[in-house]
């Protein structure tokens, strides 16, 4: 398992995408799935930076990647504000232009892009787990 700690700042999103992209590539994922994993990790990290760590000085969060049994497991652990993803309204992706809601898109995309998305509040922080199966 590889783990890295990132400052909770948007300018590190590039590095985050590179990190998970390299792990997915090394695990033999195709280009389409590599992009899915990068986008899902970006959306997860963006939410942590924007919501969980908002207003917390020098906040950081941990990202881990592990490939086992044909599954790439990415975890994001932060110590900021917790949230209940089930309370985030699903965006209506068939709504007209004027009725489209701007929020909730990140979580929606993560669920579409990955095979599993779990959120848990643990003793060591807020834990988001993203799983992508190969093939």
């Amino acid at each position: 398992m590889t783990a890295l700690t990132f400052p909770a700042k948007f300018e590190y999103l590039d590095e985050i995408r590179d990190f998970v992209g390299e792990q997915a590539r090394a695990s033999g994922f195709n280009e389409k799935d590599i992009y899915c994993v990068q986008l899902a990790a970006d959306e997860a990290a963006s939410n942590v930076i924007e919501h969980a760590c908002e207003g917390i000085p020098n906040a950081s969060f941990e990202l881990t990647c592990d490939f086992k049994d044909d599954r790439l497991v990415i975890t994001v652990i932060d110590h900021g504000k917790s949230f209940d993803p089930s309370k985030v309204a699903q965006p209506d992706i068939e709504a007209d232009l004027s009725d489209r809601k701007i929020g909730g898109l990140g979580i929606f995309l993560m669920r579409k892009l990955m095979d599993e998305v779990r959120y848990e509040i643990t003793a060591s922080g807020n834990l988001l787990t993203l799983v992508k199966r190969k093939g």
Binding site: L13, E43, S98, G106
Partner: protein, 111 residues
């Protein structure tokens, strides 16, 4: 990320190079807003050199489309959308909200 603007008779083209994410989306939004502030509401977003776009970029596009289409004064067209970005836009149901063209000049010609 870099944004360049090309002016045409009936519309302006906004070409984006690189990555649009939460870090760079504000710059993308400012570039689109600058066109609308000038009264240009017919816009082609040329995505041929765009390598990546997260939902932060989708939100910028949505806000611009809403503003441009108000009072039927214009519209945002997307041109040369890379496959990976198109797939993500489809997942979010965004392809219904934008006319897309395979070639930027074809989009310009449709205004």
């Amino acid at each position: 990320m870099e944004v360049t603007i090309k002016e045409f008779k009936h519309c302006n083209m906004v070409s984006v190079i690189g990555h649009v994410d939460s870090s760079t989306a504000p710059q993308f939004t400012r570039a689109l807003d600058a066109q609308m502030d000038k009264g240009v509401f017919k816009l082609v977003v040329d995505m041929s050199a765009m390598e990546y776009m997260s939902s932060a970029g989708f939100r910028a596009l949505l806000a611009a489309q809403r503003n441009c289409k108000r009072y039927n004064r214009g519209e945002v067209f997307l041109a040369t959308v890379p496959d990976r970005i198109r797939e993500a836009l489809e997942l979010a149901g965004f392809t219904e909200l934008f006319k897309t063209y395979a070639d930027p000049l074809e989009a310009v010609g449709n205004f």
